[in-house]
Amino acid sequence: MSDHPPTRSTPHPYPGKLIIVEGIDGSGKSTQLLLLHKWLESKGYKVFFTEWNSSNLVKDTTKRGKKTKSLTPTTFSLLHATDFASRLYHDILPPLKAGMLVLADRYMYTAFARDVVRGVSPEWVRKLYSFAIRPDMAFYFKVPIEVAISRLLGGTRGQFKYYEAGMDMNLSQDVTESFRIFQSRILAQYDKIVDEFDLITMDATKDIAEQQNEMRRLVEAALIDYKPRRGTHGRRTVFWRRFDVPKSE
């Protein structure tokens, strides 16, 4: 525990690469990350995927808090930071140290945008995440609010979730209207974050394939110096050959 990973202002020293995506719900970021994941694996890279708010410990607590509607902006923020900390330690750092590619669906920038809209201090939430490492590539999928709404209503999910629409903030009784107000404020925060942390802005109104081609082009260029570690599969083959050859004689 005494070894301190570098803070988010300097590049991390590990042989792996960390690629993250950001954007509001309905921006298509998860779809793009999934397609990138497929492509990287097809090229033979070892890839590890991790997702915002997914550790079991914190998920159960968040669920409990949401059910009783007792979460405040601060506890909401702290719970997500706890989830992030535990995934950074258990899921993100080990594969990076092992030289793998790590793909993260949402990163600390989600907290900087969303928690600030919920009302916590922008300075405080940035200090909270000062233990995080800087990603090698951070994509922001920028989408106008109406496009996000029509995507979410029209296709993939059919309706908005309570917290995703910011219904806890009493912005509007109407779920769609609440989503519009809440997510528009988040978009405004993202605009600041893009400059502050040099995120790569992607035009998320374009076709899925077009965006993916652009993303793959950028990732390929960024991976030019990346030397992937040889996976266990290759080693295992060598291992068995060594023992099999004498036996067959």
Partner: protein
């Protein structure tokens, strides 16, 4: 807490200036008798007509279960460890401590953020991050630190409940066995509490004294806070029944 304030970046959506009550924190390492003294103080204050709310470390509705689960799985990283406790504290602060202070209660806190600061420092050697995390905490009106030396503490803990994994800091592998680890861990905590005494203006009380003496000292430290508090409804009716010479 007329001039109540936050340690650092506070709860921007909560104005702390209208808090009428008093926040009193009782700090000290494990086994110094904090909870016994808090019970006695509550009794003493309630007899005088003050409303009292007590709050304890990791006792929030939201988090107490989660922290138990995390401890069973032995969380390894410093950040999650601290953030879980910070979440528990934030939940109690917003749902329990601040509402009570707003209604004019005296809040007795069994441990406060100093416990988290000491534990995190012992685990990381860094003071900055944990202080930033707890920046939203209210500065208490009074912090009483029940101080004990590690030799006395060891005997007392063995005599009573025995040493457990977390109180011994076994996650830190400081010593070969429970006893060595407990001693080293608690010494480091005491050292850190001593350093904070000056910085945060703790009132130090020697926890090796008899419970009666300690309780009396605690009451002496608290009494000056109460004189500012004469406007509480309970005392107002008292003073109209028996007008004091000063009025």
């Amino acid at each position: 807490m007329v001039d109540a304030q936050y340690f650092g970046d506070g709860l921007t959506y909560l104005n702390p200036s209208d808090l009428k009550g008093k926040l009193i924190a009782i700090e000290g390492t494990d086994g110094v008798g904090r909870s016994t003294h808090i019970e006695m103080l509550q009794e003493w204050l309630e007899v005088q007509g003050y409303g009292v709310v007590t709050t304890g470390w990791t006792r929030s509705n939201l988090m107490s279960k989660t922290i138990e689960m995390a401890k069973e799985g032995n969380i390894l990283d410093r950040w999650s460890f601290t953030l879980l406790y910070a979440t528990d504290f934030a939940d109690r602060l917003e749902h329990q401590i601040i509402p009570a202070l707003r209604s004019g209660f005296i809040v007795l806190a069994d441990r406060y953020i100093y416990t988290a600061l000491a534990r995190d420092f012992v685990r990381s050697g860094d003071r900055k991050w944990v202080r930033d995390v707890f920046g939203f905490a209210l500065v208490p009106d009074l912090v009483c630190y029940l101080r004990i030396d590690v030799e006395t503490l060891v005997l007392r803990v063995i005599e009573t409940k025995g040493m457990n994994f977390w109180e011994s800091g076994m996650d830190l592998r400081l010593g070969g066995d429970l006893y060595d680890s407990f001693k080293k861990y608690q010494s480091l905590l005491i050292e850190e509490f001593d350093k904070m005494t000056e910085e945060f203006k703790f009132e130090v009380i020697d926890a090796r004294k008899s419970p009666e003496e300690i309780q009396e000292e605690l009451q002496n430290k608290i009494r000056p806070l109460l004189s500012n508090h004469l406007r509480s409804p309970a005392l107002l009716s008292d003073s109209t029944a028996h007008p004091s010479p000063t009025s």
